[in-house]
């Protein structure tokens, strides 16, 4: 029987195009990125929407408690895995700073492992690689974009995206759209110009660069606005959506009066031209390091009784926004935890910063803290229940800034006093929290939802959790014994659903218990 099956696969291979979806080993197409096959997770968010919602239903609320370990992968490194793995054709690619692994998604067997040459840049995290056609794209800690041959891990080219000697570094998983690799960099310890760059996937040549802020040194303006999280994409409108980072100097707002556009903004950009279509600013004149880079989740759903093209963001500053993503018009602004830094919300839906809550020499008590009400950990949108589920961190911090702190880079100091974490299920139509689930002190896991009504995340004690999306009740857990700082993914392999999580430096693949055909065959042959 075994050989008959193999023969069929070979026939299929020679039949080429017919098996394209599952066997296109050398070619991830734009179509695959738009509509990922069930047996793949080809980009940072899975698909382009940022919903982190899967159509898979084999693992469901009734059987999730039976989940068992399929395999683990030990990186045997110091760092915590913060990346979202991508999966194409049974091969999984994931990263930690200075490391990329390509592993067999059936067994965890290593196909190749790339280690970067020593480089002087922040190594705070790496959020994953991207794939297009037969190449893997990786942002190095020192802000180069490298292209690799997917099958071998051979470096094909290496281009400088930002000068790490000036203080920029990178963690981002590039967004592939059409014939563009879209990348940005971090760097708010120095006064630098934030940007989004489009790079040719074949040659590494720059196609266009969009700058978030005026050139450094332009009087009375801010620098910064670094773009360091993967954006989302609407193929129909042909717009990409990215959040931009905080202004610099970070805690000293006096030298940069006004809103400081386009820092702490959600921007809609045409990926072919690099032209800005619209922008919405969650944090005008930020002085608390609240990047607005959190995932701009897109969905087509009813709002106010009308079917609309929506964009939702739970922002680091503690506010949840719903926008019309065609125009950028604000539809809803509400806080999803205690905040004390605003004077209210203006007519355009933007929070109004309270000037007396800017960092001061004798300190200001601010909620949330600098890590924010949420951060890079991905939220999830469940279209069936209309719940936007986000890992929130209500918190308090003291913010200081005095003349001696200057007007370069951080320009002050801040100290977190207290925080906790709670998973919040926000009704996108009203902004009201329908249920919340305590996660302990400070959790770092993202969220995944599935069509079967499950929500996957993690708590601050290292527990992986599966919850009932409708109620927030725990249905399954397993303690990984290490902090979780990544977002779970799910995919189908050999006809069965797999949940993939990571904690510490280890990946864990989970599945339902099944009588595996491999086991039974081995059992039979061993009797011979």
């Amino acid at each position: 029987m075994r050989w008959v099956k193999c023969a069929r696969v070979l026939t299929c291979l020679t039949g080429a195009a017919l098996c394209a979806a599952s066997l296109a080993a050398q070619g991830v197409t734009n179509e695959m990125l738009k509509h990922p096959p069930r047996d793949s997770w080809p980009g940072f968010h899975g698909d382009y929407s940022g919903q982190r919602h899967s159509a898979l239903t084999e693992i469901n609320p009734r059987n999730v408690a039976n989940m068992t370990l399929a395999w683990t992968f030990q990186t045997q490194q110091n760092g915590i895995v913060k990346s979202t793995p991508i999966l194409v054709n049974g091969v999984m690619y994931f990263t930690t700073p200075d490391n990329i692994w390509a592993i067999d998604a059936r067994s965890g067997h290593t196909l190749w492992h790339y280690t970067a040459p020593p480089n002087k840049a922040f190594h705070i995290g790496q959020r994953g690689v991207s794939i297009y056609k037969d190449k893997i794209y990786y942002m190095s800690s020192d802000a180069h974009l490298l292209a690799f041959e997917a099958k071998s891990g051979k470096v094909l080219w290496d281009v400088v995206v930002a000068d790490s000697n000036k203080g920029q570094w990178a963690t981002m998983s590039p967004l592939i759209v059409g014939n563009h690799v879209l990348v940005g960099a971090s760097g708010d310890f120095d006064n630098l110009q934030g940007f989004l760059r489009s790079i040719d996937p074949e040659t590494g040549a720059t196609q266009w660069t969009w700058f978030a802020t005026p050139p450094v040194g332009t009087p009375k303006t801010s620098s910064g606005g670094n773009i360091w999280m993967t954006g989302t994409y609407d193929p129909d409108l042909n717009l990409v959506y990215f959040g931009t980072g905080n202004p610099t100097p970070v805690l000293n707002g006096k030298v940069r009066p006004g809103d400081n556009l386009y820092t702490c903004s959600i921007v809609a950009i045409n990926p072919d031209t690099g032209k800005l279509a619209w922008a919405f600013q969650p944090s005008p004149h930020d002085t608390h390091d609240w990047d607005a880079v959190e995932i701009p989740v897109i969905a087509d759903a009813s709002f106010g009784g009308v079917q609309r093209k929506l964009l939702m963001q739970a922002s680091r500053n503690g506010y949840f926004f719903v926008l019309d993503r065609t125009t950028g018009k604000n539809l809803l602004t509400t806080n999803f935890g205690f905040v004390n830094w605003t004077l209210g919300v203006d007519k355009d839906g933007r929070p109004i910063p309270n000037p007396s809550k800017e960092p001061a020499p004798d300190g200001r008590l601010i909620a949330p803290d600098e890590g924010g009400m949420t951060n890079y950990r991905s939220p999830s949108f469940d279209p069936k229940t209309g719940l936007f589920i986000v890992s929130a961190s209500p918190s308090f911090s003291l913010y200081f800034s005095k003349p001696a702190d200057g007007a370069y880079g951080w320009s002050g100091a801040d100290y977190s006093l207290w925080s906790k974490s709670v998973l919040e299920a926000i009704d996108y139509k009203t902004g009201k929290v329908r249920w919340s689930h305590e996660l302990g002190r400070r959790a770092g896991s993202g969220v995944l939802t599935t069509d079967s009504g499950l929500t996957f995340t993690g708590d601050s004690s290292g527990n992986f959790l599966a919850l009932d999306t409708a109620t927030g009740k725990t249905l399954w857990h397993a303690n990984a014994g290490a902090p979780i700082a990544s977002s779970p993914i799910t995919y189908e392999l050999d006809g069965h659903q797999i949940l993939l999580t990571s904690a510490g430096s280890v990946l864990y693949a989970w599945k339902l218990p099944q009588v595996s055909s491999v086991h039974s065959r081995n059992a039979v042959s061993s009797k011979k």
Partner: protein, 281 residues
């Protein structure tokens, strides 16, 4: 009108300045008293230079590269504070460290309770990191004039009388505390550390009572709690744990009143109460 008028800002600054002068005066009187050898927790240009081991320029440079890669995001490129991590140039642990005996332990073990991971680095790498951190502290402390970062002298803008009224009145602090119970707190802690401790005291253990199904109960300090497991240490220091669904438990966390207070405080309230607390030496 997102910003108040300049006049308002100036008025506020003026008032703060007056209070500052007032308190500098008090400081000047106090300075006649003998000072401790080194101000705890906030070292600065006012304290004596720490005694650090000597390192080569190559060690300091190499430590600088490791510092950028592993430490600078939280502690700042110059070790003077970054995102979420403290200013190491003002760290008491750093100033009392001679050749890595204290810093090395923190690097190897991390501070999981404060969010710092452990770093599995080679001994030579740790020595180089220590060399860099020492050099940054020496550099910062030998500065003259106003230093960046939070100084003790920045934290004297409040009014102790108003703070006492708030403490005894709307603050509700006297539900748990009194001047007597807090006596000496401003000697044990100073500067920013005192303010942090006032707003939300760290390392306060909660009390928990667990009652099992057969009606036995056990009380102790809460050692571990997640959604599934609860663990306590009894008076003799022995650890016990239970699955939460098998028992009933009651946690007493009086410290959580500080979280409620932080939702109510104005910044003036905080500075006034701090001024009052600063008198409880």
């Amino acid at each position: 009108m997102k910003f108040p008028s300049k006049r308002m800002l100036l008025a506020t600054c003026g008032l703060a300045g007056m209070l500052f002068l007032l308190h500098s005066g008090i400081d000047a009187q106090n300075s006649a008293r003998p000072r401790p050898a080194r101000v705890p927790s906030t070292v600065g240009s006012q304290g004596p230079m720490p005694v650090h081991a000597k390192y080569t320029a190559a060690q300091i440079d190499s430590g600088g590269v490791l510092f950028v890669q592993n430490c600078a995001f939280c502690h700042g490129k110059d070790a003077g504070g970054g995102e979420s991590g403290p200013d190491l140039t003002r760290s008491k642990l750093v100033s009392s460290d001679k050749d890595g005996e204290a810093i090395g332990v923190v690097i190897r073990n991390g501070r999981p309770d404060k969010g710092m991971p452990r770093f599995n680095l080679a001994d030579a790498e740790i020595v180089n990191l220590v060399a860099f951190i020492h050099s940054q502290q020496d550099k910062a402390m030998s500065q003259t004039g106003t230093r960046k970062g939070v100084d003790e002298s920045d934290l004297h803008t409040g009014n102790a009388e108003a703070g006492k009224l708030y403490f005894e009145g709307p603050g509700g602090c006297t539900k748990c505390h009194s001047a007597t119970s807090l006596a000496g707190v401003a000697t044990r802690y100073t500067g920013l550390r005192l303010e942090e401790q006032m707003l939300y005291p760290r390392d306060v253990k909660s009390k928990v009572t667990v009652t099992t199904r057969d009606g036995h109960s056990r009380t102790g300090t809460l050692e571990y709690q997640d959604e599934f497991t609860i663990g306590l240490k009894d008076a003799s220091g022995v650890y016990f744990s239970w699955p939460v669904d098998a028992i009933r438990f009651h946690v007493e966390e009086p410290v959580e009143a500080h979280v409620t207070a932080m939702k109510k405080y104005t910044d003036d309230d905080i500075h006034n109460v701090l001024a009052y607390i600063q008198t409880l030496k």
